[in-house]
């Protein structure tokens, strides 16, 4: 539409900004909205399209040129505050773009604002933000999931065409599931982490929240690729994620594995019913369905929390009040550190720093950190074995649909369990996508998770796209106006 000039980026951006203005009072999906900058970007995007139509450009602008997007507030955008949902970074203004932001900027995308997140992406409900919780557009009494809850909610509420999130243990897929949108977590190393405010460095990955798998593919095409600023980003060029989407073929020849371990206790009957129905539909589309085993699933959760928190304890050491961020003076250096960190961090962040520090302490390192790394290797082997037999693994993204605000805030373990099916993909570094596959009796979205071997995003996106062509779950409206 933008290519043809039927609608302008300015019109799209204005519509999004109006939508944000209307929904923010009860959603709180954004930490900051940069309306003026967005309009500037929209105008220059429109200008580029005009130039293109007049034949003044040798290269067609990107498909993303002029498309309004939202960015999770743990990703840096130059000259816009990056708070990571923390009081610690309340006024922190990076002078640099994250590589992901820079690539979207170069493609001409419009940045509407920065979305709400659990503090430093630590959480599964977006309730751990010092800027207040985000509400689920499908039921304002419920959480949107997290930590990319602001991004998921803003896409579900149609405040934006898509959003960037980050996924350390499920932080893109879980909120996507709870908000009824598509959440893609690419393989570790597929998208540069430069400018992503680190939580668990060996897990963190930039992901996308969109309404369709096709939109996810468009975003991934722009975001993926080598980056000299991230040594863990793979040096290989990404494939074309879009060409296979338009192929007329069905899913014949595709083997989909169903791990029994992803349907055990704690999974809602309604969730199981809808996910199994979705798998039946995939079979109808030509896929071969077979049972597989992921025996280490139950060990993945403790291993994940030990390693992620250990990494976090070091990653968050830089917030000491010396160079940037808030500082609370004390009578000496040590007291300044203590006061700064005591007031700057929320309770969940402190809890994780303490657990992570403990896991690395001499005398405990072997029993905790090292043992967790061994489990991590075993979890990877589980997936290697599984992918010898199947091309894709399918199951529920989360055990339940969106839960009530405050329901799990007093019980961190219950909260952690909502990531039980997502976090093993982060341990193994493999890609995963969550897509809407049904509703429960309360009209709350249910997510289907597809996992693939490392760097097989293209395969996942094709399956997700075929599923969406055959269903209309992604076209449901949350009716947020109530």
């Amino acid at each position: 539409m933008l290519i043809a000039g039927d609608i302008s980026s300015v019109e799209l951006t204005e519509a999004c900004l109006r939508r944000i203005e209307a929904t923010e009072p009860y959603l709180n999906a954004f930490i900051s909205v940069s309306a003026e900058r967005a309009m500037q970007q929209a105008r220059s995007a429109d200008h580029a399209w005009v130039e293109w139509r007049r034949g003044k450009l040798t290269q067609q602008p990107s498909r993303l040129n002029g498309i309004p997007l939202a960015i999770k507030d743990v990703l840096c955008v130059a000259d816009i505050t990056a708070t990571a949902g923390s009081r610690m970074l309340e006024a922190f203004m990076p002078a640099y773009d994250a590589t992901a932001s820079a690539r979207l900027r170069a493609a001409g995308a419009v940045f509407l604002g920065k979305t709400n997140t659990d503090e430093f992406a630590m959480g599964s409900s977006t309730e751990n933000s010092c800027y207040g919780p985000t509400h689920n557009p499908w039921d304002q009494q419920r959480v949107p999931g997290g930590s990319s809850g602001g991004s998921a909610a803003s896409v579900a509420a149609k405040s934006t065409f898509g959003a960037l999130g980050t996924d350390t243990g499920g932080s893109v897929r879980q909120p996507a599931s709870l908000c009824g949108v598509v959440g893609l977590k690419p393989s570790y190393g597929r998208i540069s982490r430069f400018g992503l405010i680190a939580f668990g460095s060996s897990f963190d990955q930039v992901g996308t929240l969109t309404r369709t798998a096709e939109d996810a593919a468009i975003l991934l095409q722009t975001l993926a690729g080598p980056d000299t600023f991230d040594a863990t980003c793979v040096p290989t060029q990404p494939p074309n994620y879009l060409d296979s989407l338009s192929e007329p073929s069905d899913l014949s020849g595709l083997r989909i594995g169903i791990p029994n371990e992803h349907f055990v206790g704690g999974v809602d009957a309604e969730v199981e019913k809808q996910v199994r129905a979705a798998i039946k539909l995939l079979a109808k589309l030509g896929a071969e369905i077979m049972p597989i085993r992921l025996p280490r699933t139950e060990h993945a959760l403790p291993a994940y929390y030990l390693i992620a928190n250990a990494e976090a304890s070091a990653n968050l050491a830089r917030y000491d009040g010396i160079r940037y961020g808030q500082r609370q003076h004390g009578k000496d250096l040590w007291e300044t550190y203590v006061n700064t960190r005591k007031t700057g961090f929320g309770p969940e962040v402190k809890r994780r720093i303490m657990l992570g520090t403990y896991a690395l302490t001499t005398g405990y390192y072997d029993d905790y950190y090292l043992r967790a790394q061994k489990v991590r290797t075993l979890v990877k082997q589980d997936f290697d074995t599984a992918f010898d037999q199947v091309d894709v693994i399918a199951g529920p993204t989360t055990p339940t649909t969106a839960f009530k605000l405050g329901a799990k805030t007093e019980d961190p373990l219950q909260m952690y369990l909502s990531d039980i099916f997502t976090l093993s993909a982060n341990l193994a570094g493999i890609p995963g996508v969550s897509l809407p596959c049904g509703m429960d009796e309360n009209r709350l979205p249910i997510g289907l998770q597809l996992l693939g071997p490392a760097f097989k995003e293209k395969r996942l996106l094709k399956v997700a796209h075929k599923f969406q062509l055959a269903t209309d779950w992604h076209q449901q409206d949350p009716l947020v106006e109530n």
Binding site: I197, D320, I322
Partner: protein, 497 residues
């Protein structure tokens, strides 16, 4: 040291690597003692949120080069770790350093002291990043004292070289440190400039009963940045520990600092207060992979090292002391070799030994007195050889040569120019010298007579008279031999009479 105690010392040497950019970012490496504070920093080395380190391959290359020069085994795969602690000069709250799997292990170097030659084993060589610097200000405009952070040095590549506890005295510690400095400068990986803090030491010191294998508690002296403080602090610590042990008490395990002014070690941290650095593998960096072919190439291209050079210099006929003096500094060795090369091409050739003598017994003294570094002096190896050739061909006297050398230091003139300007050309013309000798003998018949009757000491007096007649420019050897010849003829004539 008392007869029944022996010191056991291990040294950790931190050397900055001469790279263009920092260890994990593209900031320039500058002289942090002179550069304006915080000018050479970026989001990465100042620990900004979301930034990531990327390993400087040049630093890995230089590190591997040093490791090979120290006869180490270089690991095919080494791993960076995070060393966690809080301090304002440490922007990320952790230092990226190699820990469990260092770049290289199991090397050695040979040192020589008055006690002889000893092999000191090297436990490990690893890469890490430097910290920033704190600048303490007392009472700034009534606001009380404050500390300022300068991050220019933060992230500068460092190579840490850890010895086994093979060092037995303060002198050996200094000899080991100087040998390392020499190797590092030979490899051009470090300027060797101690005043700039580009090489720093930490010493682990303990003392045990001679011939006992049982180790006593050791202490660690931190932040030593001169050979002098290394020598004095280790000696102080050895003496202190011996007196504690002799008194029947035990040495406390602690970290010490060196008080330069009072020349004493001072306690910084006890064992109980020791840091737990909570090392774990750095998730932001892939392992350092070393390709054996690449490593082989570095080994093949390694320049000649001080010990090899020393051997070669001795084979040129130099004595041990001169060879060592010439080898110590790469610039000195290169000057000497340049001169030897040039000297071998003159006709007749100038011997290496001659060049060495003139350097060690003349030029270095002049440089020292004039406070000039060899790199900064005007004399080139070619000019030195030209001068020595003139001396060898008797065109000038040895005394004149020294005078010319002094002038060469002060001006850029060639030896020939200085000789002409000051008319220092030696008179070698036999006819004119013979005439002068005959004149002197004729003018001093009394002296000649007493000389011929056995007063030999008058020979030199007569020689002086001849030299004076010829304005001091005559070749003294020719004068001496002509004088002798003439006197002999004179004596023979007397006898026949």
């Amino acid at each position: 040291m008392t007869m029944n105690h022996q010191a056991v010392i291990g040294l950790e040497v931190h050397a900055e690597l001469l790279t263009q950019s920092k260890m994990f970012c593209s900031c320039r490496v500058v002289d942090s003692t002179t550069a304006n504070p915080n000018l050479y920093t970026c989001p990465v080395c100042s620990g900004m949120p979301g930034t990531l380190p990327v390993t400087n391959q040049r630093a890995v290359y230089l590190g591997a080069m040093v490791a090979l020069a120290l006869h180490c085994e270089v690991a095919a795969e080494s791993i960076f770790a995070r060393k966690n602690y809080f301090y304002p000069d440490l922007p990320k709250g952790y230092q990226i350093s190699q820990y469990e799997r260092p770049l290289a292990t199991n090397g050695h170097i040979t040192i020589s002291t008055s006690a002889g030659k000893r092999k000191i084993r090297i436990r490990r060589v690893h890469l890490e990043e430097d910290t920033g610097k704190l600048i303490h200000r007392d009472k700034v405009s009534g606001a009380g004292s404050m500390s300022l952070v300068d991050l220019n040095r933060a992230g500068v590549p460092l190579l840490e070289i850890v010895s086994e506890p093979d060092i037995r005295s303060a002198s050996e510690a200094v000899a080991y440190a100087k040998e390392l400095q020499s190797i590092l400068t030979y490899l051009k990986v470090n300027s060797g400039n101690m005043e700039k803090g580009v090489i720093r030491f930490e010493a682990n010191v303990s003392v045990r009963k001679t011939r006992s294998e049982k180790l006593n508690t050791r202490t660690e002296i931190k932040n030593l940045n001169s050979f002098r403080s290394l020598r004095h602090s280790t000696q102080y610590e050895i003496d202190r520990q011996i007196s504690i042990l002799t008194a029947g008490k035990t040495v406390e395990q602690q970290t010490l600092g060196w008080d330069e002014a009072r020349e004493v070690t001072v306690a910084q941290r006890s064992k109980e207060q020791a840091h737990d650095y909570r090392y774990f593998p750095e998730p932001d960096l892939p392992p350092v992979q070393i390709d054996p072919v690449w490593l082989q190439k570095i080994g093949d291209e390694l320049p000649e090292l001080p010990t090899e050079k020393l051997e070669r210099f001795r084979s040129m006929g130099l004595n041990e002391y001169d060879a060592q003096v010439l080898v110590r500094q790469r610039s000195v060795a290169e000057f000497f070799e340049g001169a030897v090369d040039r000297g071998s091409k003159t006709d007749p050739p100038i011997q290496a030994k001659t060049i060495s003598n003139w350097l060690t017994s003349q030029l270095f003294g002049m440089l020292h007195n004039a406070r000039i570094e060899i790199e900064d002096m005007h004399i080139t190896p070619a000019h030195l050889v030209d001068l020595l050739a003139l001396l060898q061909s008797n065109s000038i006297s040895a005394n004149s040569a020294k005078q010319v050398m002094r002038e060469m230091l002060e001006t850029r003139a060639t030896p020939q120019e200085i000789i002409s300007e000051h008319e220092l050309e030696q008179v070698n013309d036999v006819a004119s010298i013979t005439k002068a000798v005959e004149d002197v003998l004729r003018d001093h018949p009394e002296e000649v007579k007493s000389l011929l009757s056995g007063k030999d000491s008058l020979t030199n007096w007569l020689l002086g008279q001849v030299m004076r007649t010829l304005n001091g420019k005559a070749n003294p050897q020719i004068v001496r031999s002509l004088l002798k010849k003439t006197l002999k003829r004179e004596a023979d004539t007397n006898n026949t009479r």
